[in-house]
C-alpha cells in the first residue's frame, strides 16, 4: 500500500460544492477559501469590487493601512509566477500584514517531497491565510479541504485562477463604468487559455455580447460555449480580428503559442493575424480598451502601450486592489 494513496485525488466536486453563491452575504467571505470563479455571483462581485475601490483610494492616499496588522500570509508557490506572487505580497503588505514566501519545487517523484496536505497544515501553524500556486488541476481544492485557515487559489495548472478573472472583470467595470451592454472580444488561444475560460464564466452573470476570435484549432471549448448559451448570451466565433475590431468595447488578447501547433506552417499562416498594433488600433472605437493577462510575447506591439486605450498595465494595478479586497474579506476585515 502506498502511503500517498491516502491523499485524495483532485476533488473538483469540492470546488463545485463551494459554488453556492446564495450562501454569501455581504461579509460572507470571512474564513472562506477562494478556489473557483463559480463561488461568485453578481451580488458578491459587487461587494468585492466596492472593497477593491476602497483599497485603491486608500493606497493612492496613504500607500498602506493597518487593517491586517498582526496577520501573516504564507505565499506558497510550487511554480514561479513573479506577477502573481508579487501582487499578493504587495497586497498583503499594503494592508499592514506580513508575508512568508515559500517557493517549493514539485519533484518529479512525489515520494521525495512532503505531501501538499502536510505542507499546507504546517504553514497554517504559522500563518493566517495561504495563497497557493500549483501546476496541478485541483491542487487548491485539496489544500482548502485540509486547511482550517483560508486558502486562496493563485492558479492550479489548467484549472482555475479566480483572482485573475476577478481583476479582469473589475478592470472592465472600472474602465468602462459598467459591464452590462458591452461587446467583449477574446482573441488568441481560446482553447487552452485558462484566463479566457474563467472570464467568460464570470461574464455569463452579465448581459454582454461575446466574440471569440481564434485560429480554427484554438477555438473556445464546447463546454464553455454551452455555458454561454445556457446563460442566454449571444456569441460569435470568427478567426479574423478585423470582423470585430470596429465594434468591440473590450479586446481581451492572449498569446497564440507556437507549441500548440503540430503543423508549423499553420502557425506561420495565422500568427500575424493576432497581433495588435497601431494600425489595427486605428480601426477600433475611441472608447474601448485593450486587455492582456501578461506576459506578452509580441501579440501586442510596444507601440500600443502609450495608447490611452491600452488598459493592461492598469489591469495589473487592479490586480493588487482585488487581492487586497479578497485578503481583507477572508480574514474578516472587509
Amino acid at each position: 500500500m502506498s502511503v500517498h494513496s491516502e491523499i485524495p485525488q483532485p476533488d473538483l466536486s469540492y470546488a463545485m460544492e463551494k459554488a453556492r453563491p446564495a450562501d454569501y452575504t455581504e461579509n460572507g467571505f470571512y474564513g472562506r477559501d477562494i478556489i473557483s470563479v463559480r463561488q461568485f455571483n453578481r451580488e458578491n462581485l459587487k461587494y468585492i469590487f466596492r472593497v477593491a475601490e476602497e483599497m485603491r483610494s486608500m493606497v493612492e492616499r496613504f500607500g498602506s493601512a493597518d487593517l491586517l496588522q498582526g496577520k501573516v500570509l504564507a505565499n506558497l508557490f510550487y511554480e514561479p509566477s513573479t506577477r502573481t506572487s508579487s501582487s499578493f505580497s504587495a497586497a498583503m503588505q499594503r494592508l499592514g500584514g506580513r508575508v512568508i514566501a515559500i517557493n517549493e519545487v514539485v519533484y518529479s517523484s512525489v515520494a521525495k517531497g512532503e505531501s501538499l496536505p502536510d505542507t499546507v497544515r504546517t504553514l497554517e501553524c504559522y500563518a493566517d491565510v495561504i495563497v497557493l500556486r500549483h501546476p496541478e488541476v485541483g491542487a487548491a481544492a485539496i489544500a482548502a479541504h485540509y486547511a482550517r485557515k483560508p486558502v486562496i487559489n493563485a492558479g492550479d495548472g489548467v484549472g482555475e485562477h479566480p483572482t485573475q478573472a476577478l481583476l479582469d472583470l473589475f478592470t472592465i467595470q472600472e474602465e468602462l463604468g459598467q459591464i452590462d451592454g458591452l461587446k467583449v472580444a477574446m482573441v488568441g488561444d481560446l482553447k487552452y487559455g485558462r484566463t479566457v475560460h474563467s472570464l467568460t464564466r464570470l461574464l455569463c452573470l452579465y448581459d454582454v455580447d461575446l466574440y471569440f476570435v481564434s485560429p480554427d484549432i484554438l477555438r473556445m471549448p464546447a463546454e464553455i460555449l454551452e455555458e454561454v448559451k445556457e446563460a442566454g448570451l449571444d456569441y460569435t466565433e470568427t478567426s479574423d480580428i478585423h470582423d470585430v475590431i470596429r465594434d468591440v468595447d473590450v479586446l481581451y488578447v492572449t498569446r497564440v503559442q507556437k507549441e500548440r501547433f503540430t503543423d508549423l506552417s499553420q502557425y506561420e499562416a495565422v500568427k500575424d493575424c493576432y497581433i495588435v498594433d497601431p494600425e489595427l488600433m486605428a480601426l477600433a472605437k475611441e472608447k474601448m480598451i485593450v486587455m492582456h493577462p501578461f506576459p506578452r510575447v509580441g501579440e501586442i506591439s510596444y507601440a500600443v502601450d502609450d495608447d490611452p486605450r491600452a488598459a493592461y498595465f492598469r489591469q495589473m494595478v487592479n490586480g493588487m486592489y482585488i487581492r487586497m479586497a479578497l485578503l481583507a474579506a477572508v480574514l474578516g476585515k472587509a
Copy 2:
C-alpha cells in the same frame, strides 16, 4: 598556503564552553548565541517556556506585538527547510521585527563561495540577529565565534537543532502539564536521528522513564545511552512498539529511512513495525500524545490526524512560540 586554512575547523569545544547553565540568570540570554541544547538547564528552560506561553497568549489575542520593532533578522539557510525557515520568519514578524531571507547554496568547491565567517560578518552589518541552517556539523559554532551579534542554530547537519529539541520538550509540558514522572518512548531511527538525540539530552534534566524503540541496526548510540545512565535515568531498549504502546505518555515517532539499510530485505522486514495507525492507537492510553518532527513519509497514517492525541501539528505551532521566545531573549526583550 590555502587561504581557507585560516578558517578554523568545526570547533565543538566552543559549543561545550557555552554549556555552562549556571551562567544564565533569568535574562541571561541577552546577546548570547543559541548553539546547543547543552546550554540549557531546568532553570532557563522554565524561563524560556514561560516566555513562550506569553507569546502564545499574545498571538492568540492580537496576532502580533511590537516587541522587536526596529530589529532585523537575517534568516540564512544553506539548505532548504521550509518548516524551520517559515517558523522563524513568522516568529520574527509576529514580534514586529523584519526579516531578510538569504538562501545560499553550498558549493561543492569551497573556493567558489564566500567563507561562512565573511558571510556572517556581512549579514550582521545589516541585521541584529542571525538564524543559520547549514549542512555541516559545527557550522553554527563557527558562525557564532565570528559574529558579534547573536547566532541561533537552526540545524547544522547531523550536529544539533536546539530549537527543535526545545519545542519538543515545550510541547510535552504544554500537552501533559509537566515533564517529571512521564514515560517517553522514541520510535524509529534512533541512530542517525538528530532530534531524538537532542531531546534525550534535554530529558536527562528531568525525572522520566525512557523507551527506545528501533530496529536493531538503528539503535540509540552508546554515548547517548551513557549520558542517560549518568543522569540516573531508567531506560529500556526494544524493537517492538507493542512492548511500550500501552504504557507511554509520549510516543515520539521518527522516520525509518530505506537508505540506512544495506540489506533491503532487512528493511522490508521491519518497516511496517514502526507505522502508527488507528489500530495501534487503539492500544494506547487515553491521555497520551503522539509527536513527530516532520516531514513524515508514511510512519504516521493520515487517519491518526483527527485523533486528539495527535499532537504533531500543535507541536509546530509551539515551535513558533519557542522561536519567538528565543528571539526576544537574545535581543534583550524577554
Copy 3:
C-alpha cells in the same frame, strides 16, 4: 521582424543625459533614477552623505523609523548578490517600508522570459521604487527609461554600481573626516574592476592624489586615466604595493582573478604581491584605512580583520546607510 527588436539597445546616452548635476537642488532626487555616478557632484554628494549620517544616528538609537511607511520596494535581482540585496532590503525595512523580493533568472534565449521593460512596468504597478541588479551593461538605463517610478541601479554587468561607489566614498569621509588632501591607492585588478572605475570617477570631484597598483596586464584603462588628468589630479601607476604602502591614507583592495591571465605563470608570479597581511600592515601609517568591496578570496588575510585600520566591515554598514539615504531621497522623504 523580431518583437524584441522593439526593445532599445543599452542606451548609455540616457545615463549621460542624467549627468547634469546642476539640475539637482537639495531635494532634487525626488522621483529620480539612480543610474550612474555621473549624476553626482560635490553638492549632492554632501547632501546624500548628510542624510546617510542621520540614518546612522537613527538606526543606532532606534533601529528603525517610519519614514517610508506605506512604501514598497521591488528588489529585482537577475543575478544573485547576497550582500547588495540584503543591504537594500534592510535599508528599506529599517525605514519602515516593505520589500518584495524577485529573483529572476536571465534565460539564455531571450524569447523565453518576459522583456525587462515589461517586468519593470509590471513591478511598478505594485511597488513605489525598483532596485535592479542585472548582468548586462545598460540594463538599468533601459529599466529607468520605461519605468515611471524611480529605478536604482544595483549593478549592471561591467557597467555601473553607483551605490557601491557612494558607500566607498562615504566610508572614506566617515573614517578620515574629509576627502580632499588624501592619498588614495587602488590595488589589484584595475582593468576589469567596476568598483575602482566608479570610485575613481567620484574622486575626480575632489583634490586627491591617486595611486594605481596592479599587475601590468591589469592596469587602469586609458579612458579612466584620461578623466583623472582632465580633472587635474596627480596619479601614479606602479606594480609594487610596497611603493605606496607607507604613504597612503586609503588602501582600496580588489581581487586579482586567476581567470584574467592567459599565461598562468604570470599569475603565479604576481598573485602574492597583492595580499594584504599583518606584515604589510606593519609598514602602513597609523592613521589610514584598508577597504575592500567584498567578497574577498585571500587578498586580505583574516589576521588583518582585528586591525582597527581594517574598515571593510564598517564599509558594509555604511552601505546600508547610503542606501537608506537614496531610498528616502528618491521617494521624497529626505
